[in-house]
């Protein structure tokens, strides 16, 4: 009886948490289909706001900027992050630990600090604009890539790379043909993570973008200051859905990888005990 009550209470607790987390988003999504400018009255179902959204040139431009920015920054961060992870992995234990702490700090650091710091830095060297935003996004994306590649690198049997070199492969060929396929799961999930983070970011973008460049998040912020338009509900809903999908992809890739790795290592272990007959 007591057990049942406990069970019930814990379920209620979870339900409450989910409720508080997701109700506001749910309301936003509902409002984006509401055929009324009011925030409290349901005026029937409509797709007008979405239509308005796609007709708006300013929004289209911001969308393109956001996507190009996310893709380019994620790609470059992945290249830098993977090379970085390889280098850090090869360091001595002490330096490895120091490097990983320094990698962690930017992820935990308040966005506003990172944003202002990058802005102060950039204005000395380059005009603020798309270039500076791209650099800023690459900067905060690199740690995510390192974090998602590193565990895989650690689990990997490094001697397969040595085996490739031994059989006549040069360093590059050995990396692309042997190492990369083993790391692909981590590299992909790192890329998507970086992509998501880039789409998601507001604060750092806001400080480094200068005039004239807008991503979706900074544009929404600008619009809302002028007054809340229902188009913004629709836009926010779309962003939410895109990010949700990306996160599902990241998790799926990660889980599949995990499973593959586990399967391989289990097989390795059981093989060592297995009797072998000719």
């Amino acid at each position: 009886m007591v057990e049942k009550l406990k069970d019930l209470m814990s379920r209620c607790y979870i339900a409450l948490i989910l409720l508080f987390l997701y109700i506001p988003i749910f309301v936003l999504i509902v409002l984006s289909f509401n055929n009324s400018r009011s925030r409290v009255v349901w005026g029937g179902f409509t797709l007008d706001w979405y239509r308005g959204l796609f007709a708006n040139a300013q929004i289209r431009e911001a969308l393109i900027t956001t996507l190009v920015l996310a893709f380019a920054s994620a790609l470059i961060a992945t290249i830098i992050g993977v090379s970085g992870a390889l280098g850090i992995h090869a360091m001595s234990r002490r330096n490895y630990r120091i490097m990983m702490i320094f990698t962690n700090i930017p992820m935990l650091n308040a966005d506003i600090v990172t944003g202002i710091a990058l802005m102060l830095w950039f204005i000395h060297f380059i005009p603020l604009g798309f270039g500076s935003v791209l650099l800023a996004h690459i900067t905060f994306n690199i740690p995510y890539v390192i974090m998602s590649v590193m565990p895989q690198l650690q689990r990997m049997n490094i001697s397969i790379y040595e085996a490739a070199r031994d059989l006549g492969a040069n360093a590059l060929y050995g990396f692309f043909k042997i190492m990369l396929p083993q790391l692909m799961g981590g590299v992909l999930s790192g890329f998507f993570m970086a992509f998501t983070m880039s789409i998601d970011d507001f604060v750092i973008t806001y400080f480094t973008k200068g005039a004239g460049v807008n991503t979706l998040s900074t544009m929404i912020y600008g619009e809302i200051r002028k007054g809340i338009k229902p188009e913004m509900y629709a836009l926010s809903t779309l962003i939410f859905l895109v990010v949700l999908c990306l996160l599902l992809v990241v998790n799926h890739v990660g889980a599949r990888n995990e499973k593959k790795n586990r399967k391989y290592y289990l097989a390795q272990e059981s093989n060592e005990r297995e009797e072998f007959t000719l």
Binding site: S92, N157, S159, I160, E162, A163, A164, R165, D166, L167, G168, A169, N170, A171, Y173, I178, P181, Q182, K263, Y264, A267, Q268, N271, E272, R273, E274, E275, F276, L278
Partner: protein, 357 residues
């Protein structure tokens, strides 16, 4: 015999300030099965990695056919390695694994197909071409790893404890097969192991190493029968190692008993180390033995009994086909041939080996 294919010339290597190899020199003959034997951390794997090109020595040179290859990367050496942990490429099947090196050498498709088939036949794995390495047992994976290495026709094959992860039965089978493969392909094998039995079974020549220094080089028989110092005697097989005094040529005094031996050339009354293998000691009635002591334990080991006899402060280890009751007094005798006399270590190098006893 003096056809040296690979030579290490005064090689030294340190990791984190710790000296792993110290002024190490070694010549390896063509077509030889040579084994580097020693406890873990003795520098045997590092030696192999230096030959393979995975580590660069701090000092010294590596010569291949008289050519200096010290700075050459692994892919440019005519040497292939079989790694301890198989190290097959998990995303490729058996055939692709074996063909990897040949494809890099831009061999024709037919050539590769024939070579892969030949290599699989050599390691008794015909018909496994399309299997994934993850679906193979440890022994099978190691066979594929061997096939993958020898298919490139290296002049020297390096094997880094290749049988370490296998169970005893499987290991013994693979030892026989390795010897067979060695005969068939006729190349130099450099084998690293800490398993003395494995080394004694397979090698033409054994190099016993400890702390980065060569303790003894010789055939299996000479290493076992005539260990040159206490470390080798202790590491290879079981031994009774005890202090003795050379009273004159062919007479050694152990624990007060004068026992005839065959060793000559020691100084009169020189202090020596005496090595006697447990299987060479014979248990007899108390009054017939050189040494007399009490049986303090008898353990059945299958093919023999392992009996401990205490004489004075020392416990002698005896292997005998007949048991001896605990608590009885017994005598110990030994044939002169079976006593191995060694100089006490006097140099610093030899002293090093004593520490590990």
């Amino acid at each position: 015999m003096q056809d040296i294919i690979l030579e290490l010339d005064s090689v030294s290597k340190s990791f984190d300030g710790k000296k792993i190899l110290n002024n190490f020199s070694l010549g390896i003959n063509r077509n030889e099965f040579i084994t580097l034997l020693g406890p873990s951390g003795c520098g045997k794997s590092t030696t192999l990695r230096i030959i393979g090109g995975f580590e660069r020595p701090d000092e010294g040179r590596v010569l291949f056919d008289g050519r200096d290859i010290t700075g050459l990367s692994p892919d440019k050496r005519n040497v292939n390695t079989v790694f301890q942990k198989y190290s097959l490429f998990p995303h490729m099947n058996v055939e692709e694994n074996i063909a990897f090196g040949l494809q890099l050498k831009k061999k024709s498709r037919e050539y590769i197909r024939d070579k892969v088939r030949y290599a699989l036949k050599l390691v008794n794995m015909e018909g496994y071409e399309k299997r994934s390495p993850t679906s193979l047992s440890g022994g099978q994976q190691q066979r594929v790893a061997i096939a993958r290495a020898i298919v490139n026709e290296p002049q020297v094959l390096l094997l880094d404890e290749p049988l370490g992860a296998l169970d005893l039965k499987l290991r013994q089978g693979m030892q026989r097969e390795l010897i067979k493969i060695k005969k068939e392909v006729g190349i130099t094998f450099v084998y690293v192991t800490h398993d003395q039995e494995e080394a004694l079974t397979m090698s033409d020549r054994i190099i016993v190493m400890n702390k980065g220094i060569i303790q003894q080089i010789g055939s299996s028989k000479s290493i076992y029968d005539e260990p040159q110092n206490a470390f080798v005697a202790d590491f290879i097989g079981e031994s009774n190692i005890i202090d003795g005094i050379m009273r004159r040529d062919c007479l050694v005094e152990i624990q007060g008993a004068k026992i005839p031996c065959v060793d000559v050339g020691f100084g009169k009354d020189e202090l020596v180390d005496v090595v006697i293998r447990p299987e060479d000691l014979v248990l007899v009635e108390e009054e017939e033995g050189y040494l007399k002591g009490m049986v303090i334990s008898t353990i059945f080991k299958g093919a023999y009994y392992e009996i401990k006899v205490r004489v004075g402060e020392y416990e002698w280890m005896v292997q005998s086909v007949n048991p001896a009751p605990v608590g009885t007094m017994k005598g110990l005798t030994i044939l002169p041939d079976n006593i191995q006399i060694m100089h006490k270590p006097h140099s610093a190098d030899a002293e090093v080996s004593k520490e590990n006893d």
